[in-house]
Symmetry: C2
Subunit: 83 residues, 2 copies
């Protein structure tokens, strides 16, 4: 059994409105030591199967469902977990 | 300078509709090896300051802005990064 930890973020070239709002709000609250903020999605998916098959499956899952590949990029790690 | 990596997830007791939709969709697509799905938010915040002060600041930031503590729980790590 594997736990896929999936991170989906906006590509560098895409303006992230939520992140900009958080950063400006913090600066207005006087927290000027905040240099940068990024916002993304985080998924954990538990799957049975062999490592390579699961890796291929998760990659397809990210590419076709969890990330909008026009604007977002994704990365994931696989962790073996006991049943 | 520190990079805070912040994870915000629904509490165990809260039904996560997005996760349920993803899981059922995958099962309908024949991916029955998917056992569980969780969906959350992921933030990275870059801050200047001393470790303890930054940790306290990030905790307050999570508690008051990034997480709805009635339904969500949060955890974060701090990583020292070069300027």
């Amino acid at each position: 059994m594997y736990k896929a930890k999936i991170f989906v973020n906006y590509k560098q070239s895409v303006l992230d409105p939520k992140a900009e709002v958080i950063k400006h709000t913090l600066h207005r609250l006087g927290q000027d030591n905040v240099q940068d903020v990024t916002v993304g999605k985080y998924f954990e998916v538990l799957l049975e199967g062999a490592h390579d098959a699961v890796a291929a499956q998760v990659d397809t899952l990210c590419d076709q469902m969890l990330a909008n590949v026009n604007m977002e990029s994704y990365r994931f790690t696989l962790e073996e977990v006991s049943q």
